[in-house]
Symmetry: C2
Subunit: 276 residues, 2 copies
């Protein structure tokens, strides 16, 4: 198996990797990012194919999962380096030393909102953004629009929290949410403490766009005013609000519940109509 070895911190490619690993500006400028660890790399391989570059720590070569990934990456540039050099590139503490360099997927310009989508207004925490991407992917909502103030979706922290969700989604960054909402042909629903209705009273079997906001301030007032409806998640205890990723999960899976309940009812009805 042919691997190119890097042995020095002064190697120009190593310097470039270090830059990508540590600077979000460098990642945005290069339109490249790092996938850290076997889980993310395997998910990328199965959903998006070969990466431009596959990097492995010396000791990790013996790991069977890593060996299988290296095998599949035969047509890719493969780099091996001492563990100490690898660890300076990785944020995973007790992981297996494998990473991919990938081109940040470019998505088409945002069109009109016509299918179910998630809109993120100024979300700060990478863990929250990653968790919401994961919930959206599981709920079958593939389009995600992030405002300029939202944590960069392709940063290593968001990627790690997303657990591979990124690769099945269409993620629009730097999106103009106000323009999107104003031109939407489907209802745009925002969670808010100033609510018109309960989440559980809304028909979610049709496509809707979900608008979630900043961890502290919630959805900004101008976007909230543009939304079709402001919804509350009913509480049974004394607590002001939920974490935004928890709140998103509740909304997205209430939509799943209504959609699957509908499908189950159709199946039951058609079973009853069947000749015996």
């Amino acid at each position: 198996m042919s691997l190119k070895a890097i042995s020095s911190r002064d190697n120009p490619l190593y310097k470039e990797l270090k830059h990508l690993a540590t600077s979000s500006q460098a990642r945005r400028r290069a339109q490249r990012t790092l996938l850290d660890g076997v889980h993310l790399c395997s998910a990328y391989l199965s959903q998006r194919g070969l990466p431009p570059l596959c990097v492995v720590g010396e000791s990790a070569q013996a790991n069977p999962e890593v060996a299988a990934v290296l095998e599949r990456c035969a047509a890719t540039q493969r780099i091996v380096m001492p563990d100490a050099l690898f660890h300076a590139l990785s944020q995973v503490e007790h992981g297996i030393d494998l990473l991919f360099v990938i081109d940040t997927p470019q998505v088409q310009a945002a069109g009109r909102l016509e299918t179910s989508a998630v809109l993120l207004d100024n979300l700060q925490d990478p863990g929250n953004v990653g968790s919401i991407l994961r919930s959206a992917a599981a709920a079958g909502v593939a389009a995600v629009y992030c405002s300029p103030g939202t944590a960069f979706a392709w940063s290593p922290k968001v990627l790690r929290a997303g657990m591979g969700a990124h690769f099945g989604l269409e993620i629009h960054e730097q999106a103009d949410l106000a323009a999107l909402i104003a031109s939407a042909s489907i209802p745009v629903l925002a969670t808010s403490s100033h609510a018109d209705a309960s989440l559980y009273d809304v028909d979610l079997r049709q496509p809707v766009a979900w608008l979630f906001g900043h961890e502290g301030q919630g959805v900004s007032a101008d976007l909230l005013a543009l939304a079709t409806q402001r919804l509350a998640i009913p509480h049974l205890g004394e607590m002001e609000s939920l974490n935004v990723a928890a709140s998103a999960a509740v909304c997205l899976f209430e939509q799943v519940r209504q959609r699957t309940a509908d499908a189950a009812a159709v199946a039951r009805a058609s079973a009853q109509g069947r000749p015996r």
Copy 2:
């Protein structure tokens, strides 16, 4: 307003505070912890009363919210210190420099599981534990049991993510989950990829105990085997699993939905029965 001033890092009380701020072992041993920031301190005041100690940074004294808290803490020991000393105690980056030292609430020994509860098996991430506590408090589920391997609920990071949820809950740490489950008089429901049923097919109007597990490995096999039922959250997209805090929110609020739907149905029925 009488405040005691600390001006040196060598002050014995300052050293003790620094110890509490930086060492989880020190917090466990002293059975004391720090509440960082105005939001947590205010929540504590309104739900639990006065803390043993209130600490404020010099500049923050001018802040009206801080002044109001200091006023209410008149019967408490109040400490003021230079901002630089305060910042070495705080994990909040752009917050208002106020913190409480509180005694970690001691809860009674765990009895039998009879009311709705949340059981956390080996959860690692403080943000996830805090988010789940917040969801439990909002869903009206007051009893929480944490296994020995779960992140310490009264650590500053979990407290911050919990946003005050702690003060309305009864949190049992170092709980023997196997013994609790074995003696439970209510169903114990675990989310699992090896599921017997869909979350949406289970009657959640009665008390249940929710069992959530480790971020990577899920609920451990021995506890999973003890659970009354293993549930799946149906997915509509290709994604292996949800973040555990997202999954907990979906479960806890499906319980809220069923309970409030029931209450709404009762209200409708009784309204129909009312004489006109």
